[in-house]
Amino acid sequence: MEHNSYIYIFIMAAGTYLVRVLPLTLIRREIKNRFIRSFLYYVPYVTLAVMTFPAILSATASPIAGLAALLAGIAAAWLGRSLLQVSVICCAVVFLLELFL
C-alpha cells in the first residue's frame, strides 16, 4: 500500500485530538462525587511532578545542571516568582553551569 504523508499527519492529529477533547465535551456538569473531585484535584500536581522529575536530569547535557535547575526552580517558585521568571531562572542556571561543566 502506498503511504501518503498527509494521511499520516491527519491520522496523528485526529488520534491526538480525540483523547484531548472527549472528556471535556462528555463531562458537561460538575462532578458531585467527593472521591472523583478530590482525585481530579490532585491530578495536575501528580502529573506535572512526575513529568518533571527525573526527566529534567536528562533534558540537559549534564545531569548536574538539570538538578541545579530543579532546585533553583523550586526555590524561585517557593518565593513566589512568576511563571516567566521561574522559567528563565531555570534556563539561566543551566546555561551558566554548562559553561563550566
Partner: protein, 242 residues
C-alpha cells in the same frame, strides 16, 4: 459567563511567552526527527500545528519513518497521548457549568501539558480565552521550531538547546510549588510523585514501559491515594486541599 475577554486573552498571551520559548527548543528537535521521517518543511510545520504533543509526535514520526500501517499510527497516538484523557477530565471541572460546546472543543484542541498546567493554576473558573491566548502564542513557537528543525538541522548550539529545554520544567514548578507552600500534604505528595517517578524510571520491567504509560499509572495511583487520604472539602469549588 462574564469573563473579560480582552484581559484574559492578554494574560494568557503573556503567560504563553515562556511556553513558546521552551516549545521552540523542543520542537526544534522534533523537526530533526521529521526530516528523518522524510517530511518537508511544510509537512513538519503542519504536523506540529495540528498535533503539538511532543511524545505523540516523536512516536508518530518514528512510525512514519518506518512506513507503518495507518491503523498502527492511530493506536499509537491514542496510547501515547492517553494522559490527556486525565487532564481533559480535570479541565472539564475547571469550566463554569454551561460552558458552550465550541469552547470545550477549542480547549481540547489546545490542551498541551503546559497550557493545562497554567490553566489549572488560574483562580476560580477558567476563562477559555486565557487558554486560547497562551495556546496561540505557544503553538507558534512549536510550529516554527519544527519548521526550523527541518530547515537548519543542528545549527543551534547544543548548549542553547540544553538551556532552553529546562524552561518547560521551570513552568511546571511555577505551577505546582506555590500551592504546596500553604499545604503540607500537597508538598509531600509532590515529593512522593517525583520520587516514585524516579523509581519507575529505574526499576527493571517497569522502566521498559513507555514514558506515557508510566505517567498515567503514577497519576492514577498517587492521585487516587491522595484522594482517599485527604479528600478535598465538599462545598468549596475553590481548590483548597486543606
Amino acid at each position: 459567563m462574564n469573563f473579560p475577554i480582552k484581559t484574559s486573552l492578554k494574560r494568557g498571551m503573556r503567560d504563553g511567552i515562556p511556553i513558546m520559548l521552551g516549545y521552540l527548543a523542543v520542537a526544534f528537535t522534533l523537526g530533526i526527527a521529521a526530516r528523518n521521517a522524510g517530511l518537508t518543511v511544510f509537512q513538519a510545520a503542519l504536523t506540529s500545528f495540528t498535533n503539538h504533543a511532543s511524545a505523540g509526535e516523536y512516536a508518530g514520526l518514528t512510525l512514519i519513518a518506518a512506513r507503518a500501517a495507518y491503523f498502527e499510527v492511530a493506536v499509537m497516538e491514542v496510547v501515547v497521548n492517553a494522559r490527556y484523557l486525565l487532564m481533559s477530565c480535570a479541565l472539564s471541572q475547571k469550566l463554569a457549568p454551561g460552558t458552550p460546546l465550541i469552547h470545550r472543543m477549542l480547549l481540547g484542541y489546545g490542551l498541551t501539558d503546559e497550557v493545562f498546567g497554567i490553566s489549572m493554576a488560574q483562580e476560580g473558573y477558567l476563562s477559555p480565552w486565557y487558554s486560547y491566548g497562551a495556546f496561540g502564542v505557544a503553538v507558534a513557537g512549536w510550529t516554527l521550531g519544527s519548521a526550523l528543525g527541518v530547515l537548519v538541522g543542528n545549527i543551534l548550539p547544543d548548549r542553547m538547546v540544553s538551556a532552553l529545554s529546562v524552561g518547560l520544567y521551570g513552568m511546571f514548578l511555577a505551577v505546582i510549588v506555590p500551592p504546596a507552600r500553604k499545604n503540607r500534604f500537597l508538598c509531600g505528595l509532590i515529593a512522593l510523585s517525583m520520587g516514585a517517578s524516579a523509581l519507575f524510571a529505574a526499576l527493571p520491567l517497569i522502566s521498559e514501559l513507555s514514558e506515557g504509560l508510566r505517567i498515567i499509572l503514577l497519576t492514577l495511583l498517587l492521585s487516587a491515594g491522595a484522594a482517599i487520604l485527604r479528600p478535598i472539602k465538599d462545598e468549596s469549588n475553590e481548590t483548597e486541599g486543606e
